[in-house]
């Protein structure tokens, strides 16, 4: 949201007020018309002939060869679609009571349209560049921005005169650079014919008007998305959320998508011509819509992949919340955004220095006792019993008696042979009771007897109360 707003503001400041711009446009239009009238009829006829096939069989812009067409304004598919949408936007903005479902559907069409406009702007930009190269080849490298380029082409025409007042939209440094190279270009390059100039002007106008309407669409989207998907927009901003919603056919679609699919949405491999990032880049990271969100772009490139995974998870959760409409103020989305930011910040922190562990004090331990009276006694406790010892001994030349145990294993009885009376019982390993324990056992035995007494009393027939209280006192 914030970035988008900032961008819009930038656009505003770049363009000056929109009224001014409109005026400018109208003026240029008038100029071109005049020129057109002054031109001979022959040329007009020529133009008509060239345009005829394209106007009868409409070819969409992305398929046509730019260098073959004369007038690009006849090929725009978007401008016809734009009018009804813009009027509908006005309608929606003025009318507060629109159903959510309806508006979300409309948002999707608006979003798709804005994408189309972006594509078209690129194509028109290419068209203008191709034409204007003959007059001023360096301009396209000096001014890469499509809008600035179009404006400059309109102002320069064939003359290439620099008037600082009309170039207010450029920065100071850019202006200086432009002035220097324009002086050289004034003599170089071939002049364009009047028809070519009119066509160029038309194309420039179209580009600028498209940009303006795109700005309107985007501002509408960012305005409405905060209502439709507040948590989602809080995390990734209105632009990316609208892109995600559009490509998945609505908030419901987004809510049903697993988070692992989000980063690849809008990346080159999935949408082909829709994205226009760096060409020929072989990045391991999916450069989709999410990648181009401000949240990801602000991060260190080495953490982007991890961050995208985190954000994708939160995006889906936020989409589900928004779909259910349980948190309409977007507070949860904001919380998640902060969470992701802090997590990534932590990722970037250097690992803590491990402290050097001091050696233990070299204390001499007492040696282990291996003999003596006490140790002997202790060992006797864990000795084999006499019975076991006897079991391990066998008589010579006699068959041993055996027993089968629960597991079906045969166990030899050795010389025990069933008559255990002869074998002494081992007394060493008997459980020993300390004096304290004896006292405690005695005490509990007495108490146990008392409780037994209580339970055995005949509560029904006897006045047993005194005896019980006596017992307690004891």
């Amino acid at each position: 949201m914030s970035l988008d707003q900032a961008l819009l503001d930038d656009l505003d400041s770049d363009f000056g007020s929109s009224d001014e711009q409109q005026q400018e446009l109208q003026e240029t239009e008038v100029d071109t018309n005049n020129i057109g009238q002054i031109q001979g009829i022959e040329e007009e006829q020529e133009k008509d002939q060239l345009n005829q096939p394209s106007s009868t069989t409409f070819i969409p812009l992305d398929r046509i060869q730019i260098d073959q067409i004369q007038d690009i304004t006849d090929h725009t598919a978007v401008s016809t679609k734009l009018q009804p949408v813009l009027s509908q936007i006005h309608q929606y903005l003025s009318n507060k009571f629109v159903s959510k479902q309806e508006e979300s559907q409309f948002l999707i069409t608006v979003n798709a349209l804005s994408l189309e406009i972006t594509n078209e702007i690129i194509i028109i930009h290419n068209f203008i560049k191709l034409r204007y190269q003959k007059r001023y080849p360096e301009l396209e490298t000096l001014v890469p921005n499509a809008i600035e380029y179009a404006k400059l082409v309109q102002i320069f025409g064939n003359e290439l005169k620099i008037n600082e007042d009309s170039l207010y939209f450029l920065g100071k440094e850019k202006l200086l650079m432009l002035t220097m190279s324009t002086h050289q270009a004034q003599t170089a390059g071939t002049n364009l014919t009047e028809t070519q100039l009119t066509q160029l002007n038309k194309a420039c106008e179209l580009l600028i008007s498209l940009e303006e309407s795109k700005r309107q669409l985007l501002s509408y989207i960012s305005d409405r998305l905060t209502v439709l998907a507040p948590n989602l927009t809080a995390i990734v901003g209105p632009t990316v959320s609208s892109q995600l919603i559009t490509i998945l056919g609505g908030l419901e679609g987004l809510a049903k998508t697993p988070s692992c699919n989000i980063p690849s949405l809008g990346s080159k491999s999935t949408v082909g011509s829709l994205t226009f990032g760096r060409s020929g880049s072989t990045s391991l990271v999916n450069e989709g819509y999410l990648f181009h969100s401000d949240l990801v772009q602000d991060m260190d490139p080495s953490f982007r992949k991890q961050a995208m995974r985190m954000i994708a998870g939160k995006v889906i959760l936020a989409a589900r919340i928004d779909f259910s409409g349980s948190i309409p103020d977007g507070s949860q989305g904001l919380k998640w955004r902060k969470e992701v930011e802090s997590k990534v910040e932590k990722l970037g922190e250097a690992p803590e220095n491990s402290k050097i562990k001091a050696l233990p004090v070299p204390k001499d331990m007492k040696a282990k006792k291996r003999a003596g009276r006490k140790v002997r006694k202790l060992k006797a406790k864990f000795e084999l019993s006499e019975l076991r010892k006897a079991q391990n001994v066998m008589m010579f030349g006699q068959r041993e008696n055996t027993v089968t145990d629960a597991y079906g294993e045969e166990i030899g009885l050795g010389i025990t042979n069933g008559n255990m009376a002869k074998i002494p019982v081992n007394v060493n390993n008997k459980a020993k009771v300390t004096k304290n324990m004896k006292g405690r056992l005695e005490k509990s035995r007495i108490e146990g007897k008392l409780t037994e007494d209580i339970f055995n009393q005949d509560f029904i027939n006897l006045p047993a109360v005194p005896s019980v209280s006596q017992g307690k006192k004891q």
């Binding site: 050097i356 001091a358 050696l359 004090v361 070299p362 001499d364």
Partner: protein, 141 residues
């Protein structure tokens, strides 16, 4: 570099207090001069082992030019001397060098120095005045 980080004892009183105030740990004092090559090498080694032996030994440095009080008493005539004290008692150690009162040669191995300090500490705790170093440093010629 080690001499920068290790604490210096700047007067005879400081040396006395360092030895007196330590009740449980061994006090290891390097007598010498910070700029001396031998001292530099030894200080580096001492600085490296200080955190390791911090449970049972504490290391100080003392400049024998600034603090000449002990030079005669302990015969501090070598460029570098390390001495051990425990509970205000001077600990002797047989290194095989002929001088049992002090360590007056540069060691190169951290573990060896730790072993020596451990041995001295063990002996000191048991109340012995002289211990035998785990490694003998008899000069091989």
């Amino acid at each position: 570099m080690g001499s920068v980080f290790l604490p210096h004892l700047n007067s005879g009183w400081h040396v006395d207090q360092a030895i007196l105030s330590e009740d449980e740990r061994l006090v290891v004092i390097r007598f010498g001069r910070d700029w001396d090559k031998d001292c530099m090498l030894m200080d580096e080694l001492l600085y490296e082992i200080t955190p390791l032996v911090s449970n049972f030994a504490v290391v100080y440095l003392c400049d024998i030019d600034k603090v000449p009080d002990f030079n005669e008493m302990y015969e501090l005539y070598d460029p570098m001397t390390v001495m051990f004290f425990h509970k205000n008692k001077h600990m002797m150690c047989d290194f095989g060098t002929g001088d049992n009162n002090k360590l007056n040669f540069v060691m190169t191995d951290k573990q060896e120095l730790i072993d020596v300090i451990e041995t001295v500490y063990r002996g000191a705790v048991k109340g012995k005045g002289l211990v035998i170093s785990p490694v003998q440093y008899t000069r091989r010629s």
